[in-house]
């Protein structure tokens, strides 16, 4: 049962091959068996999961046919879950029991999904390796000495190791696509505003977007269907129609125009990675796609721009953690200022502190124009690069990451080298576009991801393009050694 797609599981549940309670219990057992080493979950809610599964079994018996009823999922610990600890990977929220559900959670509950637990992540989603979590690093199931990527590292590792059928993630600069690539799964970051941010703990509000982490594009289409759509509770939610994402998965790709940005294949890209990406593009040529070289000339400015915009928004968003209404409070504060400073000083880890300081600096009097305003202008130039490209091509392809998963600790002491591991994913967030990473032929036995970028609200096209590749190849079915099912 650990190898079935969501569609197959759903059919098996309806045919009575096993119940949702049995399926859920099997996953809970597997988590117990494997997660000690992996550390992909912060919280496992066995009791809640089994109760929801029992409800789902009743709904199935009553003849309900939704494709997600009774399917076990892991939720990134950034989504508020009513009555269940929501830590965001931080000591600051170690004691926080969310008093309401995020819209993503509400929609998945309505769809009948069973939440196994909450996945580990970089603290407040700030990191690319999962090493900044207060709960310790997640390991990559393909090699326990390597990082799973971040910030949605627990979500990626749990799906790769088959400790959840699927999971959710969030992506501010690559936090879905990069860990998906490093763990060998399919990670979709939709268009900004496609999925509600309500109840999703904010990092950088103009960049944050929730998405899916699955074993295939087909599974992703089903999850996205449940998650996408307008939400009046999120002031930046997009009021755009939601198409049937599964209906177009098999569309023919003859004549599809693929753009390869020359800037994504230059200096800094591991030659082995380049080879595997080119091989994947060749697969598309066999399917009738046309490939053209394009240019995104401002690519080199994406990381610098991001490290002004994201910390600025982070320092503003994280000012809500003040030790007064919820979250960590220091012992014996001598006055209000001491309470703020020590509660925040004790509650936040190093990387979060660095970003708050950076953000406070670029927003401070005298520096705003040189940093934040200039970054917002360059953001426009980066976005214009894509607008021009999409006049010529249907999708853009390239590597998701410059190299294979790095070792734990390898980049932990140098924030800048860590930041540069998101070089191919960050521009997509700055522009607000959708992107998906799918597993391609491994590099030296380690997972590698092909990134496919689409135009605004072109998620159906991205999933179609990803699905067709997964019909031709088996990389997405590979299971890490030691996690056999």
């Amino acid at each position: 049962m650990f190898e079935k797609t969501i569609t197959e599981l759903s059919a098996a549940l309806r045919a009575g091959e096993f119940s949702s309670v049995e399926l859920t219990q099997a996953y809970l057992d597997r988590i117990k068996q494997f997660d000690g080493d992996l550390n992909s979950y912060i919280t496992v809610d066995a009791e809640g999961a089994l109760a929801t599964a029992a409800e789902a079994d009743k709904r199935i018996q009553a003849g309900e046919t939704g494709p997600l009823i009774g399917i076990p999922i892991a939720q990134k610990d950034i989504f508020c879950t009513d009555g269940v600890k929501t830590s965001c990977g931080s000591r600051m929220l170690d004691n926080f029991i969310a008093p309401y559900d995020a819209t993503v959670i509400t929609r998945m509950k309505q769809a009948g999904m069973v939440m196994l637990g909450k996945t580990n992540m970089d603290e407040f989603a700030m990191g690319s390796s999962n090493e900044t979590s207060w709960y310790g690093p997640v390991k990559n199931p393909w090699d326990l000495e390597r990082v799973p990527g971040g910030s949605s590292g627990g979500s990626a590792a749990s799906v790769a190791a088959r400790l959840a059928v699927a999971s959710t993630g969030t992506d501010t600069g690559g936090s879905i696509r990069q860990p998906a690539a490093l763990c060998g799964i399919t990670g979709l970051k939709p268009t900004y505003g496609r999925i509600s941010r309500f109840g999703m703990i904010a990092f950088a509000s103009s960049l944050d977007q929730a998405g899916t982490m699955t074993r295939s594009a087909e599974d992703s289409a089903l999850l996205l269907q449940a998650m996408a759509g307008f939400d009046p509770a999120d002031s930046t939610s997009a009021d755009e129609p939601v198409p049937d994402y599964s209906a177009t998965l098999n569309d023919d790709l003859t004549g599809l125009k693929i753009g390869l940005p020359k800037e994504y294949f230059g200096e800094g890209l591991d030659p082995e990675m380049e080879k595997t990406i080119n091989a994947a593009v060749d697969e598309y040529k066999k399917m009738g796609a046309e490939v053209v070289e394009i240019s995104l000339p401002n690519t080199h400015l994406a990381v610098p721009t991001y490290y002004v915009v994201a910390p600025a928004e982070c320092s503003s968003n994280l000012s809500r953690f003040d030790g007064v209404r919820f979250g960590h409070r220091c012992e014996d504060p001598k006055d209000l200022e001491d309470l703020y400073k020590r509660s925040r000083g004790e509650g936040f880890g190093d990387e979060v502190k660095r970003r708050i300081l950076m953000g406070a600096y670029v927003l401070s009097a005298g520096y705003y124009d040189a940093y934040y305003l200039q970054a917002q202008k360059i953001r426009h130039l980066i976005s214009d690069d894509f607008t021009r490209a999409f006049k010529e091509v249907d999708v853009i392809m390239g590597p998701t990451t410059p190299d294979a998963p790095f070792k734990l600790g390898e980049k932990a002491s140098d924030p800048v080298s860590m930041y540069l591991s998101d070089i191919y994913t960050i521009a997509v967030n700055l522009a607000g576009l959708p992107g998906v990473s799918i597993p391609v032929e491994p590099v030296n036995g380690l997972p590698a991801g092909l990134q496919i970028i689409g135009n605004y609200f072109a998620e159906a096209k991205l999933l179609n393009v990803a699905h067709r590749y997964q019909q031709q190849t088996d990389w997405h079915r590979a299971i890490p050694e030691g996690y056999d099912v």
């Binding site: 960049l207 009046p232 919820f326 703020y340 502190k353 660095r354 300081l357 406070a360 202008k377």
Partner: protein, 95 residues
């Protein structure tokens, strides 16, 4: 641009963030490195470019000024470190 110890202390105060004495130097070094990365922006001519505040160039929606939420004070205050009679407690601010 490189940051001094005193710059870091000043920003940390602005952000109401206590940082360990012995880590101030390493924050200064890290932030200076990040600012070095960010400085690539300086060379770019952005004369006449409109700053991009929202990826889809949408403006903020307004809602009707009506009460839509129910009172859940007790539930929300369960997460508070210290409350009394429905009020959040902090150290005395006014002598």
């Amino acid at each position: 641009m490189s940051l001094e110890r005193s710059d870091v202390e000043k920003i940390a105060h602005l952000a109401r963030l206590a940082i360990d004495e012995d880590k101030v130097e390493s924050y200064a070094a890290d932030l200076s490195k990040i600012l070095g990365l960010v400085e690539q922006m300086d060379a770019i001519d952005t004369e006449g470019v409109v700053p991009m505040a929202h990826p889809l160039h949408m403006s903020q929606r307004l809602r009707a000024d009506e009460v839509t939420e129910t009172d859940q004070r007790e539930k929300y205050q369960r997460n508070a470190p210290q409350v009394e009679s429905g009020l959040y407690l902090v150290p005395k601010v006014i002598e």
